[in-house]
Symmetry: C14
């Protein structure tokens, strides 16, 4: 295994794991928030405007943590500074 | 094992794990949201329009995290920049 | 172990694990949704049309995550680009 | 260990694990659905027709995920393309 | 370790694990279903015919997943195509 | 380690693990069923005939999964086809 | 390590693990059954005859799974066919 | 490491683990049974004779599984047939 | 593997793990906070101003821990002092 | 590592683990029993004599499993037959 | 791997793990505290001043443990005495 | 590593683990007992004498299991017979 | 790896782990205490002085365990007697 | 690695782990005790003297187990008999 391969493998593995595991938490959190929103709507239909607005703000906050993970994965696959360095090094050689 | 094989194996393994484990969270979250929607409908049948609409928006948010995982898997199998690099390198050799 | 064997083994292992573990989440989620549907029906038999329709839409959403896993497994067994590459390479040799 | 043996061992191991672990989720989910059906029947005996019908549709959906696992196991034991390839290769040699 | 031994060991190990772990889920699920049936009978003795019938159908569905595991184990011990292949190969040699 | 020893060790290990872990599930499930039966009897002493009968049918179903595990263990210790094969091979040598 | 020692070690290890872990499940199950029996007696002292009888039948069923484990351990220590085989082989040598 | 040492180490390790882990289950089960007995006594002081008697029978059943583990440990330390065999062999040499 | 590669791999792996796992806790915590906010709104619609304000302050506190993780990841990828040191060393050589 | 050292290390390790982990179960069980006793006393102060007596008998039963573990540890440290054997062997040499 | 690299890798790995895992606890704790604050506000809007003040003091205490972790990470990355020692040693050489 | 060092390391490691993990159980158990005592006092302040006395007896029982662990650790650090043996052996040499 | 490096690495790793994991428990405990304080305030606003005082004493006790961990980490990084010893040894050499 | 280094590393590692993990239990237990004290105060403000006194005695008992862990860590870092022995040995050499 030369250095380029090692870095490629590490990037592939971590890109997958970061998104694969890192989206579990947000998914469960969003599921819980949606579920409570639904039972709140059933209990107090008159407050549906406030409940829906608060739900969407909350989902956006939770989604942000899933997006952090996705961003890290995308950086590792398409804008990886370590990969760029070894490519540059290989060309310059 | 030459470099090409190592990258292929890493891509296969991570493609499977990312989708296999990464869809657990969304699946459970959707199950919870659907379950609460059903018990809310039973409790307040008159609010079925609001409940159904909120449920579908919520499911879409949760499904998005499952889709992040599926996208990573698809990129690793069919549009893997590291694999393309070693293929190009092998041809250019 | 030559390269072809390594890729075959990785594909077999991951095909099994992706489906074996990836269907746990959807199965539990569907079980929960069906269970709540049944207790909702017992509580409010008059809303059975709405409950059943929402249940089936929800089950379809949850089933979709199980199908992502099954699709990955099928691609790895029957339409694996890495396997095809090494086969083509072996023939061309 | 020659290549044929490695592929055989991987197929045996994964066939067992996929079915052994992959049926846990569906089994628990079906147990939950049946349990709720029984307590719903006790609570609302008049709705037994609707409850039973919904239960059977739900069990069929859940069972489908168990069947995905069983299908993967059967493919790996009796219709494994990788095994067929190495057998064909061994004969052609 | 020659090839025959490796395949024999893998078959023994997986036959045991598949049944040993794969029957946990069904056992717990059946225990839950039976337990709910008993408390439903205590709550609504008049519906005992419907409850008992639904219980038995449900137990049969759950038992089916345990039987999938047992079938895989039996195939691996007594009708293992990989074992048969190496035996045939050894005789033909 | 010759082949005979490896197969003997694998059989011993798996025979123990299959029964040791595989009986956990049934034991817990039976404990749950018996516990519910007792609290149902306390709640509805008049239905004791039906409750007891359903309990015994249920326990038999659950016990069946424990017996699958015990059967696999007994087959591996006393009627192991792989062991018989290597013994026959050793004598015939 | 000669073959005899390997088989002895495997038998010792598995004999301990099978009983050590395999009795956890039954112990917890019996504890649950006894606990429910006690609270049922407190709730319905008049049904003590039925409750006690059902409890003892249930405990016997649960204890049976613990006894399966103990039997496997005893067979592995005192009536191990694999050990007997290697002893016979060593004497006959 | 000669054979005698290996068997001694295996016996020491398993003797400790069997008792150390195998008594967790019974301890928790007895704790549960005692706890329920106490709350039952507080709820129905008049049934103290029946409750105490049933508690003691139940504790004896649960303790029996702890004693199985202790017996295995004692056999492995003080009456280990495998150890006796290697000692006899060493003397006879 | 030369030193530069080792440090690159360590940075990639830890950048992914820190964000991937470190955002689980905040995501679940935010999900819980949003869910309680929604059920509080349904219970006391008049206090919606105070509830919403407290929710946003709380979400900001929780989000801060997710941001600590993201910051560590960004430092490791784009401002890693150890990487800079080895690069400087390599140039100066 | 000579044989004496190996046996000494195994004895030290197992003595610690047996007591360290084996006392968790009894400790939690006693904590539960004491807690229930306290809430029972608060509920029914008149039955304090019976409750206290039953609690002490129960604690003694649970403590017995902790003592089994402590006894095994003490035997392994101060009365270890395997250690005595190797010491005797070393002197006799 | 020379000494400098080993220390750099250890610092990178531990800096990430300490923050990544160490912020889970505080995040969940803050989520719980915020959630209870919200439901308390809904239950007793008149006490909002006291509740908000106590919440902020509590969040500060919990945040302090997250900050301990972040401080350790920052020390390891930017003020690591072991790294400084080896750098000084390398220059002085 | 000579024998003396191995025994020293094993003693250090086990002394720490035995106390570190072995005190978790008692700590949680005491926390539970104290918590129940406090809620019992709030419910029945008149029985405070009996409750406090029973609490202290119970805490002493639970503390005893923590002390077993601490005693094992102290024996391993300051009165370790295996360490004394190797020291005596080293001096006598 | 020379001795100095090994001790440096061990100190870095353990300093991070001790604080990273050791602050989880206190964080969760403080979260629970704060949460209960808030719901107690909502239930009994008149007792806010006593509740707040008890809360702060309790938080201080819990924080003390987090501080033990932080102190160990600080000692390992900045006042490590083993590191000082090897430095002194290296200079004296 | 010479003997001195091994013992130093083992002492560092175990000192950190013992305090890092050993304080989790006490922290959670104290959190539970404080939480119950607060809700008891809210329920029965008149008994605040007794509740506070019992709480402090209980916290002291629980803290004692955390202190056992801290003491072991301190002994291992600053008064380690094994370390002193090897230092004495090194000087005497």
């Amino acid at each position: 295994m030369d250095n380029m391969t090692i870095i490629a493998v590490a990037s592939i593995v971590i890109a997958g794991i970061t998104t694969g595991f890192g989206t579990m938490g947000p998914a469960l959190a969003e599921g819980k928030a949606v579920a409570t929103a639904l039972s709140s709507l059933a209990q107090q239909p008159d407050a549906s405007a406030t409940i829906t607005r608060t739900l969407f703000v909350g989902l956006a906050m939770v989604e942000s943590t899933a997006i952090y993970c996705f961003v890290i994965s995308m950086i590792l696959i398409f804008a990886n500074p370590f990969w760029n360095h070894v490519i540059a090094q290989a060309i310059g050689k």
